[in-house]
Subunit: 389 residues, 2 copies
């Protein structure tokens, strides 16, 4: 048994044998032979390490009696359950306010950047307002757009020789109205934009991301089959190179508008589909980049995570932290802005973000979030990977 | 070449060789040796079967010129692209207004129904308002709830011997407050309900579905890992039978509130995760069942589908239709009520629903929707299966 002592809302341990055991496990903060514990640490010791808590008069406090002292702490249980899970894996984690300086452990993922110009010939299209698709019935033009630039779908999907009509989706339609020579027989650019905005939530955000990649030479098509907004092919991809690696996209893009709050379970669903089809999931946060002032006394993120190293684990004694943990539950909502700010905090410390989501059954899922460098872009892109730490 | 003739908005074929070829393919409707085509049929013949269209004065009309005559038709392209896809598969489909009587081809999926009573002992829990979870720190009670009823998570997920705290999710919390003897130390039923309603979109709908299955003896837990609202175990399932088939859920449930309009791409994403983990996807539409008056002159659904039979295909000549097609695009929104009404229309004709979704690249995905009979339930449940027809 480990004896915890409670004084108002402070929990500490002073039995020398307990102190040394907890110190070896990197629990609490030590001062003059006494270890003071955070609520998560105290609850963990009670739940898993046979800790028992008493006040000065010797009254016993149950787990819930201790927890109830901290009910006003935001995300108490999200933090406790993700703390517990990391500890249960035999790994060490510490309070975020111990983060100090820039650990230089961030990996910046370099993406290539090319440039793209549409051919300058002009052509007509018929815009279908209900379906948000443009048809091009000039066979030569439609075929050229498809084969040279992979814009639109000529003929039939996966059978472009079958049929002779080109189909442009709403993103391609607007891109070609803005930057190419498409002329719609029955609508103007502003009509198409207004309709798209009315019909598709956050259309301007989606379109910004589409244009950002397309103008850098990437081919960007619907991600419907993979449960995301877009799928992505690197510059040089062509629908004709059937035996080539480019015929299969390896990346999908999901757009997370800054102003949109989304429930974690929905967010997670998009990542899972991508994972199940073995695609790299790219999260896009369009709009102006976040400026964050990091206040070490009021950290946004929840824990400083030590991970594994060859032959063992990292600890505060002989290593540096690798991640900052963002602790969440499946029922929480998160906005693009919020996430961008949390990610900026990670950058300041040179750490990567580990998002830990505790579901309703207290099972924890982890995602690592890595920053992408897309030269020339003003937006923020991240690769998200579902991992088992 | 097949010669199409245009008179105002009517398109017909009268060359005897064309007429007989189209008749053999089950295109159009025949009257006095002349075949009149629907817009979808005319466009298909122009796109794929080398049809060329002329007006009475001999002026040639391109594909887009013909299509532009019908731009006011709702979902014109959704209908055309899903029509084309079915035809491209060598299958036959006809206008919905030809549906006549009840074809008796619906399969009603019988689900068992048991009953469930919680043990009557009373116990305390601490409610965490921010996390919407209740902790039960009476080890005996928490263990019993978990092992006997699979309510809550005792100890650690997939390691219930580790730790001694029970975690009840918000659905379990409210169920036990309503039907069991749970007493919250820091909240009342109405507090928990109000908070859940505020925090989780459509919570009352979700809870209704939870309760509906739970009280019929099913075990219903979070579907977070599978991208759905819930996962389901049949009556008799237990977390203890580790070697038993029940340890793996085979079904997931996603709730589609009647009043909520959801973009098809999101809807589809949920089905795809379920598919990738080989679970049966159950769609739940809680609330009062839809009463539908079917008006054969104004069908809600889009096409009458003939499918395959042993050694060939079904046709209007020697078979009956099997499905009604609901044609959609990935950017369309659909509400629970709308879907329930469309499904009720299918029931009237004794046909199953084939949902056909054309994505932005004109690739079509198909889902079959089958009705579930859960004895005693007032709600509507359907199995949705992603298929390649």
């Amino acid at each position: 048994m480990i004896k915890l002592e409670l004084d108002r809302k402070t929990i500490f341990v002073k039995e020398p044998s307990d102190v040394s055991s907890l110190q070896n496990g990197f629990y609490g903060s030590m001062n003059k032979g006494i270890i003071t514990l955070t609520p998560e640490e105290a609850l963990y010791i009670m739940d898993i390490r046979n800790g028992r808590c008493f006040d000065k008069s010797g009254n016993h406090y149950t787990f819930n009696q201790v927890a109830s002292l901290f009910l006003k702490n935001k995300k108490l249980l999200a933090k406790y359950l993700t703390y517990k899970d990391w500890r249960d894996k035999g790994l060490v984690l510490r309070p975020t306010n111990e983060a100090d300086g820039n650990y230089g452990r961030t990996i910046l993922l370099k993406y290539e950047s090319s440039s793209f110009e549409v051919d300058s010939f002009s052509f007509d299209g018929l815009f279908f307002p209900y379906d948000l698709i443009t048809l091009v019935d000039d066979e030569k033009v439609a075929k050229e757009l498809y084969e040279r630039h992979w814009i639109g779908q000529f003929g039939t999907y996966k059978a472009s020789h079958r049929g002779k009509i080109g189909k442009l989706d709403i993103f391609e339609t607007i891109y070609l109205l803005r930057h190419g020579q498409l002329h719609l027989l029955n609508a103007r650019l502003k009509d198409a934009e207004a309709l798209a905005k009315k019909r598709i939530m956050f259309f301007p955000d989606l379109y910004s991301v589409y244009e950002d990649w397309r103008k850098r030479g990437y081919v960007i098509k619907t991600g419907f089959k993979f449960g995301t907004h877009f799928r992505l092919y690197f510059p040089g991809a062509s629908p004709l190179k059937t035996d080539d690696k480019w015929m299969h996209s390896r990346h999908v893009i999901h757009v997370f508008p800054r102003k949109h709050k989304q429930i974690i379970s929905e967010w997670s669903r998009a990542i899972r589909v991508a994972h199940s089809v073995k695609k790299t999931f790219i999260l896009a946060i369009p709009g102006k980049k976040t400026q964050v002032k990091v206040n070490p006394d009021k950290p946004r993120l929840d824990f400083l995570l030590y991970h594994r190293k060859k032959g063992g684990i990292e600890t505060p004694k002989d290593g540096t932290p690798k991640y900052l943990m963002y602790s969440l539950t499946e029922d929480e909502y998160i906005g693009g802005d919020e996430l961008a700010q949390a990610l900026a905090e990670c950058s300041c410390f040179g750490l990567e973000m580990m998002m830990a989501i505790s579901d309703r059954e207290s099972s924890v899922t982890h995602y690592i979030i890595k920053k992408i460098d897309l030269p020339g872009s003003d937006y923020e892109y991240f690769e998200i990977e579902w991992i088992q730490p």
